[in-house]
Amino acid sequence: MSDARDDIITVGLLAEGTHDPGVPPAGIRRAPTGVDGLATEHLIVNMGPQHPSTHGVLRMLVELDGEEILNAEVTLGYLHRGIEKLAEHRRFDAIATLMDRGDYVSGIMGETAVALAVERLMELEVPRRAQWIRVMMAEINRIATHLLWYGTMGLDTGAMGPFLYAMRDRETLLDILEAVSGARMMFNYVRPGGVVADLPAGIDAKIRGFCDAFDTYVEEHDAILSGNEIFQARLKGVGVIDAEKALAFGLTGPNLRASGVDFDLRKKRPYDAYAEMEFDVPLGTTGDAMDRFSVRIEEMRQSNRIIRQCIEGMPEGEHTAKVPKILRPPTGEVYASVESARGEVGIHLVTDGGTSPYRMHYHGPSLYALQALEDLMPGHLLADGCVMIGSTDIMLGEVDR
C-alpha cells in the first residue's frame, strides 16, 4: 500500500492559485490526492478515553483518511496511580492490594508475582497445599479474565449475545473467588508464604459443578463466535503479528503464542505447583486476530483441566508457611514473573533489609501489546483497529500502574 501521507495537497481556501497563502484561512483542509482526483478529508480523531472499544481509559489519537487509519498514537496516564512508588511505602504483605488494582481483572496472578519475589528473597518454603490453592485460584481467575475479554471481543465486533453468556459463567467464577478470598475482584488473597485462608468447607462441590458445566459452556462460547461467518470475516487476516514482530515488541502470553512462539512460563519456568499439572499450551500459526481468539478459547479449556486436577488432587496440610508478622527480607534483588491471563507479569524487587521494598518495578504485558498496536494499526480500517485493540486484550490498569 502506498503511503497516503506522501502526496498530501492543500485544497479549499489554501489551494494554490485561489487564495493568498499568507492570510490565515477560516478552515484549513489537508487532503491526499485520490486516484480519481477526488480528495478525502483527513480527520484527527480522539478515540477514547471513554470510547467503548478502548477497554478502559485508553486514548488513541488516530489520523484518518476516510475510514483508513494513517497514524495512531497512544496517550496514556489516565489511570496512573504510582503503584511502584506506593509499594516503596508498604509492608511486603500489603503490596498485594496494590497489585489487585494494577491488573484489576486478574488480581490473583499479580499477587502471586509479588509473593514469589518475597519468598525467593527470604527463601521461604511454601506448603504444598498453598501452592495448589494458588494454582487453582489463578486458573479460576484466568477463565474469569478470558470470559470478560471474550464478551467484550464480541461487543467490539457487534455481537451483543456472547457478552451475556460470558457474564453468566463469569458470575459463577466470581462467586467462587468471593467464597474463597472474600472479594470479587480485589482479592488480597495470595501472601508471601502461602495464602490468607484455607478453602472454605463445601467449595469443592461448587468448583466441581462449575468444571462440569463449563465443559459444555466453553464449546457453546466457541461455537457462538468462532462459527459465526461475520465474526470470522472481521477477525481473519486482521492485525497479523508474525513471530519476528512479536519478539521485537516484547509480546508475551497469548499474544505471543498466537504468533506461534511456544513460550508459557507455567511450562518453561514452572512456579508453585504447575510442574505437577497436566495441560497443553495452544499455539497459533499466522498471528492474526482469529489466532489470538482461538488461543484464548483453548486456554480456557486447559485452565478448566487444571482446576479439575487441583480439586481432585488437593493435598492436605497447611495453607501458609510460618512467617513472621512483619516480613523483613534480607538485602537483595530478585525478579519473579508469572504467566498472567494477558502475558508475563514480572516483579523486579530490590530490598535493603527494611520492612518495605527499596524499589519495586511492576512489569505488565499490556504496555508492550500497546506498542505493537501503534505499529499495527496504520494502513487498516478504523473498524479493524477496534478488532486489533480487542484481540490483543490490553488492560489499562497495568499499563498505567
Partner: protein, 150 residues
C-alpha cells in the same frame, strides 16, 4: 534458565565492551559503562537475545541504575544488562535494536528524571508537565502541605 556468565563476558569483549558479568540471585547480570550499553545490547541481540522483555530504572541514592531484561527464546534463557548513569543524564534510546524499548524508555526517563536521545517520540508517557520525577528517592509520597493538613 541461566546463561553462562563467561560466555557473555567473552561475547561482549569480542565487540569491544568490557563488562563485569556475574551470576547472582537476580540471574546472570552484565554490568557495563553507560557509553557501552547500546553496543552491548546490539551484541546480545545478534547473539540470539531476540526480545527485550523489561526495562526499568532505580534511584540508588547516588545515581540511576538501569536494567534491561533480555530473553532468548531460541536458547530459552534470560540475561540482565545493567548500567549506571548520573541524575538528569541523557540516555540513548535502544529502540533501533529492540522496538519494545519505545514506551518503557519514555516511562523510565519521565519517572526518574532522565533525558532521551535518539528516541522518535521522547514525550512524557504518564504524567503531565510539572510533575517531578516520581520514582526519585527525594520526591516524597506526600507533599509538605499535604502532611501538614492531615
Amino acid at each position: 534458565m541461566l546463561p553462562d556468565a563467561n560466555e557473555i563476558r567473552t561475547l561482549l569483549a569480542g565487540s569491544g565492551v568490557s563488562a563485569e558479568v556475574d551470576t547472582v540471585a537476580l540471574g546472570t547480570v552484565a554490568r557495563v559503562d553507560a557509553a557501552d550499553a547500546i553496543d552491548a545490547l546490539a551484541t546480545l541481540k545478534a547473539d540470539g537475545y531476540e526480545s527485550l522483555v523489561d526495562f526499568d530504572g532505580m534511584d540508588t541514592g547516588e545515581a540511576i541504575e538501569l536494567t534491561w531484561r533480555l530473553r532468548s527464546y531460541s536458547m530459552d534463557c534470560e540475561a540482565y544488562l545493567k548500567t549506571t548513569v548520573p541524575y538528569d543524564a541523557e540516555i540513548h534510546s535502544a529502540w533501533n535494536i529492540y522496538a519494545s524499548a519505545l514506551m518503557p524508555e519514555r516511562e523510565t526517563a519521565e519517572l526518574l528524571g532522565l533525558r532521551l536521545a535518539g528516541h522518535p517520540n521522547p514525550k512524557r508517557l504518564f504524567t503531565t508537565d510539572g510533575i517531578p520525577p516520581l520514582l526519585r528517592k527525594d520526591v516524597p509520597i506526600r507533599s509538605v502541605e499535604e502532611v501538614k493538613n492531615r
